[in-house]
Amino acid sequence: MSGAAPGAGPGTGRADGKGGALDRLVGRLLRAGVSLQSPILVREMRTLLRGRKFFVSHILLLVVLAGVLLIAATTSAVTGDDSSSVGRLLFFAFFGGLGVVVVFLVPAFSCTAVTTEREGRTLDLLLTTTIRPWEIVWGKTLSALVVILLFMASALPLVTVSFLFGGISPWDLIMMYMAVLFVTLIVSSLSLAVSSHCRESKSAVVIAYVLTLVVCGLLIPVASLLMDILNVRELTSISAAMSMRHWTEQALILLVPLFLSLALFALNFAAAANRLKPPTANRSTNLRAIWFGFLLGCLFLLMVVTDVGVKRGWLGLAEWYFTLALGLGVLSPLLWLSTIYFASEETRLPPRLLEDCERLGGLRLPLRAFMPGPASGLAYAAVCTLLIMGGMVWFCGASASSLDRSRLLHAGASFMAPVGLFLLTSAGIAAFFSSLGLKHRPAGFAAFGVSTLLAFGPLIHMGCQQLTNTGASFHTLLNFHYLCPVLAGMSAWSSGAGDMSVTLFAPDADVMPAAGSGMPLWQASAIAYGILTLLVWTLAMVRIRRAQARWRENLARIAAEQGGTGLEVGREQIAGAPRGTRP
């Protein structure tokens, strides 16, 4: 087998009572190593290597790739470039070809991986074994990786040709191979996620290709940003270009793609595995956590990249604001929508909770039991707020060497305080609606509607304006509500990057308190949002408490009628209640 074959057997990790934690960790790592050797991988490789299709397509692709290289070599020979640029051209032509192969071959391989099992009626057999859902997905990811690895290994002689011409270092090769592997991971996990959600192979193929192209398309700006950082305008050796940059930039160039590919991989992986879990299991919590981690990580990276950019001089102030506004404009509505979605989502009660409930006599269900979504939604929103606000204020302050520092701080706070509080308010609104007993979707839509009204109706700001006596125009008012980054980004597109700093930092009157009033606008609006948040959450909590009391009464009544504790019935009500009904 070409898969990883760790020689570690069981027995090495025996705990001898004393060195518990470390031993257990070692044992766990060893077992994880053993399970890398997935049964799924073994089976798929057996089938694959037995068929002729694999070898034929493999050789065909190699021939095509060789042809591309030949054409590239002859054209550059005709134009009479020097030797090392011919080498670099061949090198990048090779990886261009390899990239195309990955983007077109891997979805074809992976997106039918689960649907064929569904159609061939083997999935039920597989799912009723004790194999874990993530092991299935991991096994299938490994098979895609192995296929690509085999292809890369057999294509190695082709790329070594470019070394004959020079201009390329082995580091370039290693970095590019790593990049191809990461792209393979992203694309194959994406296709697997599609596959595990589709009924038919046909639709899976279409959706997987569309999504792959969209994701790769979204990654192109990131790649071009990195190229900009490296100042790569023509084909150069990447490792040479890297070595000329400051270490912070080098770290970014490694960190950004690493984070993006791992986060995308984790998202797809969890989405694929969740669908294969038992139908009664919780299928969304981990995905939710990864998704928020992804969004927050993107926010953080955005700030770091723009900050480093300003410091190292490849982003002017206008560009800095433009990038930041655009990035936030994409990320913050996503955060907002996700908060509403997850806050109004109701999940099944986890089994552990039921056990607790039994132990406690069944009458003291924790609050979470009724509102799992909003509770975690609140937690996420709080974390988001802290991160956004803290990060923004810090970075604004840190990078503001050339600008008035306090003005930037004010701008950051005026920009982010309402944003964070708005997230909390949205989560509260969603909690309120689902505490009314609405199902997931209606609750989500209602919360969405109400919080959109809040966002688009700058009444609060009008009020704040009266309060603070600032003479802000309607246009500047827009800057202060939640969707500000989007609008700023849009106006940035329309008016050109030069005006950018004007939109936010324009007249002092907007940001700074007008003469005679004690309170800056952002503080007033933060207070207004704070009061609103408190109000909404109090309402939701009152409703939840009431529901809890009703449920308790119900149990007591059942107990009185049937002579039991009522616990049995209560448990059944929870375990067996159709989605959307609450006890």
Partner: protein, 309 residues
């Protein structure tokens, strides 16, 4: 071993597949789960096999809650669906090796388990054969072999004998008997009664998502068909005999069938000589009197009223 209480399943399409199914399978039973097509057998079985969510109700297997601990239940059961495929491009032993690996068995144990189940299901001579070349009967056996590979306590088989030829069917039955002898609890569904009654010791009948009857097979016949069917054979004058029998105490129906009279009789065995005596006293030429065995097929038709079958 298996306990199901008030299982209700409504599909997304609105079909009410189960409307309160309760049943109990004791350890070591061979339990027949009988019902016409569309009665809800597969739905029940897929819920038990942790593949389908229930709308309401509870189910435990070996004391483990099916909905709370699906992983533990999966370890306990061997599940054979009504329709299944095979992974192409594998040899028989590789196929079984894959499933035993999926059950997380260590490598050494795997080899032994595969040899055992192949011996049990008579697949040993076909060890190196490719699975996609197998006939339907062989595939059925291969699937049973994979179901057995982790030595489950409970076998849940969904219409395993459907589509088999008589010979394969008899072999399959013998195999199930062997397995039952090994102490396994077997839960087997079917829409055909005759193939199960010889070796099942408990059964329940489901129709339109409701359990119509359940219990020991013999007890159930007693309970559901209290009337004995007695066929009185005569040389002649069958019509006269039928009239005489119709007014006899305990007889609920009598019908002439050529030279014989078919009687539904409510009495116990001790009442039968009285019936005979009455006929002889009337001077009717009785040749013989024989009791029909209580036919499961008739029972089935009677219970389900032939509505869906």
């Amino acid at each position: 071993m298996i306990r199901v209480e008030n299982l209700v399943k409504t599909y997304d399409t609105g079909t009410q597949a189960l409307r309160g199914v309760s049943l109990h399978v004791r350890e070591g039973d061979i339990f027949a789960f009988i019902g016409p097509n569309g009665a809800g057998k597969t739905t029940t079985i897929r819920i038990l096999a942790t593949l389908l969510e229930t709308t309401a109700g509870r189910a435990t297997i070996g004391g483990e809650d099916v909905f709370r601990y699906p992983e533990r239940v999966r370890k306990l059961i061997g599940f054979m669906p009504d329709e299944f495929g095979v992974y192409p491009g594998l040899r028989i032993w590789e196929y079984l090796d894959f499933f035993s690996a999926a059950y997380r068995m260590p490598k050494l144990e795997r080899r032994r388990a595969i040899d055992d189940v192949m011996a049990l299901t008579d697949l040993a001579p076909l060890r190196e054969k490719m699975v996609e070349t197998l006939s339907k009967g062989m595939r059925q056996r291969l699937c049973l072999a994979k179901t057995l590979v982790h030595d489950p306590k409970v076998l849940i088989l969904d219409e395993p004998a459907a589509g088999l030829d008589p010979r394969a069917r008899i072999e399959f039955r013998a195999l199930l008997k062997t397995l039952s002898g090994m102490g396994k609890t077997i839960f087997i569904s079917s829409h055909i009664l005759t193939e199960l009654r010889e070796f099942c010791n408990a059964c329940c009948i489901i129709e339109r998502g409701r359990i119509l009857a359940s219990g020991d097979i013999d007890g159930m016949a007693e309970r559901l068909m209290p009337a004995r069917i007695i066929v009185v054979r005569l040389l002649s004058r069958a019509a006269e005999a039928a009239e005489a029998l119709a007014v006899h105490p305990g007889v609920t129906a009598s019908r002439v069938e050529g030279n014989a009279v078919r009687v539904e009789f409510q009495g116990v065995e001790a009442d039968m000589p009285g019936l005979m005596k009455m006929l002889v006293e009337k001077g009717l030429p009785v040749v013989g009197l024989e009791e029909k065995e209580r036919d499961m097929e008739a029972l089935f038709m009677r219970i389900t009223k032939g509505e869906l079958a």
